[in-house]
């Protein structure tokens, strides 16, 4: 075995006893801290959560307000305290991004765990529709097995081998099972689930899209114009009418009434500025919410 790269306090040789010891110590300290959290009096809970939230947010705030080094090269050393902090913040950013990805992945796993917990409980207690819980758990377990199996088989393949592995005649049992479950079922159902909305849109438009007020009339007219502009045949039909009315001459004023021109005018003059104004509102709200969360002022929230 060839030794891995050079080490420092934070890094240890891969597979070395030192690394495993440090990992074990870290886990042991964390376990002790969790034990401490379990014993924590109620009055300290809020400050603890608020501290974690504040310190996490502080990183990006510092990153924003602290002067950043310009044209920094990998070999550059900080000349003063300001530069030291600046370099540290800049170097820490990818690690913070990595930490946020890892933590989000763990928290996403919570959703999977929650679903399993609900259905295992239903199955154990033979609650209503427990048979469907078996269906769910079997589906979950089978795709997990085939997913990992296929992934494990691909590890260590060269790009050329990977290329060969994509040919269906070379597919292994793992790949066949994975594709059957992922492409054959999951992806088909994903598409089907979302396409259901088309039926409800048609039904709702027929029953509820009424010209009952000025607002509804404006909305309907705008929607029809935009929908027509998406249709090449409608555009062609309209263009022929415009051409017949003198639009064949490029300089003719009537050319401004082509479907694409009208739709473009609505888009640039009303749609984009309107949505932009909504986004300004959302932006102000997000900024205020960000500050409230960071400073733990949100009463019903984290703290």
């Amino acid at each position: 075995m060839i030794l891995a790269n050079a080490t420092n306090f934070w890094a240890r040789e891969s597979g070395s006893g030192g690394l495993f010891l440090m990992v074990f110590l870290t886990l042991a300290i964390c376990a002790a801290l969790i034990f401490g959290l379990l014993q924590m009096p109620s009055r300290l809970r809020r400050p603890v959560v608020a501290t974690f939230t504040f310190v996490s947010g502080l990183f990006y705030v510092l990153l924003w307000i602290w002067p950043q080094a310009q044209d920094r090269k990998p070999t550059d050393l900080p000349a003063n305290f300001t530069e030291s902090v600046s370099f540290w913040l800049s170097d820490a950013l990818p690690k913070i991004a990595n930490v946020s990805n890892i933590l989000t992945a763990f928290l996403l796993g919570l959703g999977v765990f929650s679903l399993m917990r609900v259905h295992l409980t239903r199955l154990a207690k033979k609650q209503r529709d427990w048979s469907f819980s078996i269906v769910l758990l079997v589906s979950m377990i089978s795709i997990t097995i085939f997913g990992y199996w296929d992934w494990a088989q691909r590890q260590g393949m060269t790009p050329l081998q990977l290329e060969e592995a994509t040919k269906i005649e070379n597919w292994t049992t793992a790949r066949l099972g994975q594709s059957l479950l992922f492409d054959g079922l999951l992806q088909a159902m994903d598409a089907a689930m979302f396409s259901l909305i088309a039926f409800y849109i048609l039904s709702a438009a027929y029953r509820a899209f009424r010209i009952r007020s000025i607002e509804a009339t404006i909305l309907l007219a705008s929607a029809f114009l935009v929908m027509f502009s998406l249709l090449g045949l409608a555009d062609l039909f309209w263009s022929n009418m415009i051409n017949a009315a003198g639009g064949s001459d490029p300089a003719s004023f009537i050319n401004n009434f082509r479907l694409s021109e009208i739709a473009g005018f609505i888009q640039k003059t009303f749609q984009v500025p309107g949505i932009r104004a909504i986004q300004f509102g959302i932006g102000i709200g997000a900024l205020a919410m960000g500050l409230r969360l960071w400073l733990s002022l949100e009463k019903g929230g984290v703290s």
Binding site: L63, S90, D91, L93, P94, I96, A97, N98, S100, N101, L103, T104, A105, L108, G156, M157, T158, P159, L160, L162, E163, T166, K167, F182, D183, Q187, A188, D190, A191, F194, S195, A198, F199, I201, L202, S203, A205, Y206, R207, F209, R210, I211, L220, F224, M227, L230, L231, G232, L233, A234, D235, L236, G264, Q267, K268, Q271, V272, I275, R276, Q279
Partner: protein
């Protein structure tokens, strides 16, 4: 007498089409035209034309980052967009790295489509795009916000944990691959291209728009919102929905602003050739006629509903 009272007026009849009948007509309207082969005229939107212009202007051999956040839930639009994008990139020998921030299914969907386009190329005797050499799969980054910031300020370290097998089968850091040769920061990337059906494009735009040329291929629902970023110059080009797919495909077929091409967008400077004789007209072309019939059905349903209300009101007044 009772029979006369129960008889429905025309207005009432128009208002009482059963839901099942509407659904059945919709199924017919979206299934039958798929078999028809009719060429629909097209007028590419300016934003689609700018997307095509930039994709065709990227120097061969450059590297782009593709943020693929779509799954089959939006296959009707996103698949056509992703196919068209990959065909252009591969035909122009542009290297790419795919990352996902939106959905756990997205990385596998992207890999499957790259494989499918590679098979299409292999059938035509064209060079296949090879992992490590020509493209990379960077995987899933579930925290879009942190990842976006990382890419903006320190891209090479943000991808530092990611590895792929090189030609010898040895696992190596992706930043050492030929795809990222000469790339140190996101500013060295020719374009950051987002294919998505969600708001993930906005998270990326918010963090990266002043660092790199950004392009987006979004679904119809996300189109209007994303258009504000195009209008402000934060996005340099975008394709929205099925119309956007059809725009791309027609430009790939007969070029943009080229003499003799029907795709003339005066607001977009320059002439950009297409790829005649190759697979250009795909999902967008297959679906666009059917979109006509579906939208006409919706318009008819709204008109019938409103006429029904008007007639019923008149009857009530008389």
């Amino acid at each position: 007498m009772a029979q006369v009272q129960n008889e429905k007026t025309l207005g009432e009849k128009l208002l009482s089409i059963p839901r099942g009948v509407l659904f059945f007509i919709l199924v017919l309207a979206t299934a039958i035209p798929l078999r028809c082969k009719v060429t629909i005229p097209n007028n590419p939107a300016e934003n689609s034309a700018n997307l095509y212009r930039i994709l065709m202007s990227i120097p061969e051999g450059s590297t782009v980052l593709v943020q693929s956040d779509w799954t089959n839930s939006t296959r009707g639009e996103s698949r056509g967009q992703f196919d068209a994008l990959l065909r252009i990139l591969m035909r122009r020998n542009i290297k790419f790295a795919v990352l996902s921030v939106g959905d756990p299914q997205a990385p596998q969907v992207a890999k499957d489509v790259v494989d499918a386009i590679n098979r299409e190329r292999a059938e035509k005797g064209e060079r296949q795009y090879r992992r490590w050499e020509d493209w990379l799969s960077l995987g899933l980054f579930p925290n879009a916000e942190g990842t976006g910031n990382g890419i903006a300020l320190n891209m090479s370290n943000t991808f530092a944990t990611k590895e792929e097998s090189d030609a010898s089968g040895m696992k190596r850091k992706v930043m050492l691959s030929p795809v990222f040769q000469g790339v140190e920061s996101v500013a060295d990337i020719a374009a950051y291209i987002i294919v998505t059906g969600t708001k993930s494009s906005q998270i990326a735009i918010e963090r990266l728009n002043n660092k790199v040329t950004m392009l987006a291929l979004v679904t119809g629902v996300m189109g209007p919102e994303t258009l504000t970023y195009y209008a402000s110059g934060q996005l340099k080009g975008m394709s929205a929905g099925l119309k956007g797919v059809y725009d791309l495909e027609t430009m790939m077929e007969s070029g943009l602003n080229v003499t003799g091409s029907p795709n003339q967008v005066p607001a977009v400077p320059g002439e950009y050739p297409g790829f005649p004789g190759q697979t250009n007209l795909a999902k967008g072309t297959q679906y666009i006629l059917t979109l006509h019939s579906a939208i006409f059905l919706l318009i008819a349903a709204v008109v019938i509903g409103n006429i029904g209300v008007i007639l019923s009101r008149k009857k009530g007044q008389s």
